[in-house]
Structure formats: structure tokens, C-alpha cells
Symmetry: C3
Subunit: 142 residues, 3 copies
Amino acid sequence: MEVKQSGQIFLVYIQKDEPVMETLTSICKNNEINNGQISGIGAVKEIEIGAYDLDSKTYLRKQYTKNHELISFQGNITLKDGTPFIHAHITIGNHDLRTRGGHLFEMKVGVVGEFIIRKIDSNAHRELDDNIGLAVWCLENQ
Amino acid sequence: MEVKQSGQIFLVYIQKDEPVMETLTSICKNNEINNGQISGIGAVKEIEIGAYDLDSKTYLRKQYTKNHELISFQGNITLKDGTPFIHAHITIGNHDLRTRGGHLFEMKVGVVGEFIIRKIDSNAHRELDDNIGLAVWCLENQ
Amino acid sequence: MEVKQSGQIFLVYIQKDEPVMETLTSICKNNEINNGQISGIGAVKEIEIGAYDLDSKTYLRKQYTKNHELISFQGNITLKDGTPFIHAHITIGNHDLRTRGGHLFEMKVGVVGEFIIRKIDSNAHRELDDNIGLAVWCLENQ
């Protein structure tokens, strides 16, 4: 993993076989990126994504082991239990260029991973919403 | 709906059952965000999206009533008839993680809606292009 | 093609029949945008996209001639052989709102092309990685 900082912006190159969410989260923690925005492209593998089922309050999950293009990565960073937490959704494409997508749990870089983190100067955090079953954004000042 | 501002950036949490385009547009109007950029993720329902048919100069439209993951939201803000106007395209995913996407008309939040608006200090506007049948970007100074 | 600059941000309107990658690359070169980020939406045609096959170290390529919605465009700009180079992945949607996506080689605007370039003040570059067969991000200072 390599990082290059320019003001509020961090270019992040995640290398083959490195875990994406774990790596990005550690960069946020090490650089005190409490709020922010992440985008990225590349090619990934051993992907676990899901869709939230509100009735059962659980994620339906699927795994994709082979290399897929990482077509879109939209993530945000907020504080959860006092530390930076990344929520990200991705679109992936197979070698027929067909797409799948959803909530990202984890994936590894399959070829290259090119990410851009933009730090935001605020301290929005998450708190559990019992009706939804998830920790949701709380934007009021604490 | 909750909003937290940090300089040019607005974190926006749109809650279950609230309309996304209507809510984001009202935030732009209230904060004089004449130009800008919007991204977002979450889970949405009662989605109407479409694709533009240049021959008939109309949008082909489809509705998706059930909850879908909001995998990607790319939107821009320009002035149309003197007020902020949002143009957005989205990718959604169903519970099999299959994706659909296109031009967004409107949708409601199904579980959570996490959006980030970045204000841009300019006044680009739209004007009708008769050949295309749409109000298109005009970037020259007025 | 029209461009409006606001500080580090460039709004770019690419018109019908103009090539997207060629146009964006020339804007980066003319404005010394060595590093940056690009997003965009619109409707495009004569699209060539692909997926990288690590075994053969070649891209599998497909063409889509008809108009498609440009649903997502995530691109980054780094230096390659001393000049700005754009790496972009896209999601496109047909008139049934079905999606395809992958690594973008080139496409033309079919209806409108609305892009936002954000310049980043750094000089990250690419160098060939023989194990991967691609020029990859190098983020250490030169």
C-alpha cells in the first residue's frame, strides 16, 4: 500500500492481494480522517457484497472469488464508536462486462486498486437506529 | 432530513420515506448552491429512472417499487430558469445483487440515504437545445 | 466542447459526436492538470470498454455502438511518460435500463456529456509493473 497526501486529499494505491476495506480504514485511523469521501477504481477479487433486507434486519450476502473490474466505489467516512468507519457501495463487472453491485463488506485487490480519499473537516457520527437495525448518520452537533 | 455543513461541503442524511430529488433540490435552494456536485449511497424505493431516446426526444421510463441498494449516485447542480437544478444518474441493485440504472426522476429513501453535496463557486446554467430536446449546460460567462 | 473553471474545479461540457477521453485528456494537458479526479454523466455512443485478464495480460474488449446512458464515470489523472493520463471506469445503461461496465477505452457523446474535473496539487505518476502488465500508480516522491 502506498499513500500520497496533498492537503485534504489522499491518493491511495492498494496492491494485489491486499484487503481494501481494512487498508482504507487503517489509513483513516492513522490520519485522523473522521469524516470524508472515498472513490476508486481497479480490479478486485474475493469480493463479498450484499443487500439489506429491512424485514429481517440482516444483509443478504454473496461472494465473487474471481477477478472483476471495480467499476464504481462510492464510500463515506463517519465516526462509529469513536473511530473512523467506512460505508461503501460498489459496482463490479465480470469479463463479459456484466455488472453486479451492492453494499461492500470486504474485497482484495486482484490487479490494482486506485483510491482517492477526501477528508472533510467535521465530526458526524453514527448511532444505532432500532427501527432500521443499522447505525445511521447523526448530523446534529454533539 | 438532517444537514451538516463544513465549508463548501454539505453532509445530508435523508430519512426513510423522504423523497430524494425534492429534498436535495430544496437544500440547494436554501443554501444558494447554484453549482455543485452530489454523490450518495443508501437503500431506496419507489424509484423512477429512464433513458433518453434522441429520435423521439422523450425519456423511456421504468418504476421499481421495492427496496434496492443505491449503489451509485452521480449528480450535478446548475441553474435552470434561475434556480438550482439537479441532474443525476444512478445505479441500483436488487436483492440478487443484479443492477439497473439510468437517469433519475425521483425516488424515496427505503432504509437510509447518505448524500454529500460539494458546492462549486460558479454560475453555470442550462438552456434548451432544440436539436437535442433538453436543457444543456452553458458554460460561457453571461 | 466548453469549459468553465472555478479554482481547482473544471466543469466540462462535451457535445454530441465529440470523443470523451481525447477531449478530457487535451483539457488536462492544456491546464496542467497532472493529478486529479473526474466524474461525469450523460448519454454516449460508439463505446469501447473492457476487462483486464491478468493471465494473458490483455484487455478483453467490447463495443456498444448505440446510445446508452452514461450512468457512472469514475476517473483519475496521473502522469504517464510525463504527460497527464486518464484512467476511467464507466457504467452504461441501455434503453431497457440494463447495465454493463468496465474499463473505458473511448466513447463519443451521443446526446450530452457533463463532466467535472477536480485538480489535485501533486505529481503522482505511473510506471510499468512487469508482473501485472500495466503502468501502475507510483506515489512515493521522486
